[in-house]
Symmetry: C2
Amino acid sequence: MDSPTLSPANTRVLLVGLGLIGGSYAQALAAQGFAVDAFDPDPDALAFARDHHWIVRAATTPSPAIARDATLVVFALYPDALLDWIRAYQHLLAPGTLLTDTTGVKTPVVAPVQALLRPDLEFIAAHPMAGREKAGIRNADASVFQGANYIVVPSPANTPRAIALCRQLGVLLGFRRISELSPEAHDAMVAYVSQLTHCIAVALMDCQDVPDLAAYTGDSFRDITRIADINDRLWPSLFLANRTALLRSIDLFADTFARLRAAVEAADVPALRALMQLSTARRRAFTS
Amino acid sequence: MDSPTLSPANTRVLLVGLGLIGGSYAQALAAQGFAVDAFDPDPDALAFARDHHWIVRAATTPSPAIARDATLVVFALYPDALLDWIRAYQHLLAPGTLLTDTTGVKTPVVAPVQALLRPDLEFIAAHPMAGREKAGIRNADASVFQGANYIVVPSPANTPRAIALCRQLGVLLGFRRISELSPEAHDAMVAYVSQLTHCIAVALMDCQDVPDLAAYTGDSFRDITRIADINDRLWPSLFLANRTALLRSIDLFADTFARLRAAVEAADVPALRALMQLSTARRRAFTS
């Protein structure tokens, strides 16, 4: 078998959801020559994308004519909305259409979607590990994908062809590193590298009320709290969709943080140095 | 009284300590036309600074001839070393010399230094809120001061003239925002915006051992752990020199983090949204 490829000649993309991520996908794929259509309830988002020549056809509610022409559908929706869309509208899609997503949690999505999907459609999950502290298509910027990570999240229900096409989509979007994780491994990873970091940033920003804070901060505080500017409609649903893994990550962090606190209280310099030497070695290993 | 000024015509600078920060000071002040001399036990550091024309005269042990000519002495030493230096060498300095520092904690430094200082010398503390995750003069880079914050830390023992000169030093070095805090207020602030953030970064990096971590991280994890690459000889001494304030900051953070954890466990979306709305509002206020 030749390896399958996505090309503008054989692929018409339908983006469902034109927010920050959906808009950035449309921008990146249009720049690669793909014809992209889009559904979004917000007519302004559609007009913005059309004005920028990121999309061709658009509709505020799923249009049978547009849905029928899609060969690749990308869902850039909040987690709850994806299942609802499949249930309500999958009958509009042509046989053989490939579906993928951008959702930040996978165990609540992959098996349920695959369970209710028509047998002549295939859903392959993916997670672009890039974003911005702003929402909406007006903040879309495909350049955030450059150098970033893209995780393909196959399940046993997926075909090698779909996995290969989904990996290629990551390359076309500009991602540097494409990897694969199972839904469970993905969610455990995301609990640590993304959700826990957002919890920390929020708690750090909330724990003290300091007038004129900006006059006293260094880069470290600014960098660590950048993501404390957070979409409060999206993130609670991501946290709760991954609650068990997130609580495990929170507790592992809290345990280590408590050990560090105990070393400060006991003035235990060797313990502090050991904690710092470990963090330095790990941070350097993953930078290189 | 005219406001006093530091200029190359009236000021000869002596840097005591030519590491990352001392080297960056030398670079910045030489670029402004100041004659800078330096003491550092490491002959390579001195040779590096001389090769780059950042310093004029240098000695590995305090030289009476160099010390006598200084009108402004800047200490860029580990906290413990500053007091020892004053005790051993202040007799080398000319009457009227102004002394300042770069130390990250102030209550253990300001009163003790001022208590043992000759009455014809004046010490005015300052803290440049800038740095890098690397040590040593070979990583010195005065451009890190551009746009950064500089905190002057006067005590009741300081004269308006010394405070004004120290503020001007911050401007000459390239800092954007110059502010003043008492030693106690400075240390409480630094416990929060600097020391706590370093504790968090270290604990976050240490709490899980993930193979191939770099393939799965987004910007948030990379930014939040940047400072987990940390100088383990410097930071334990900074933490312990400010232990009471740091423990207070650690506990305030841990309390808020525990509240956030409880909201995740209880699936309390309104509580999560309220925490996120507060962090978003605070983060935006201090960005603008």
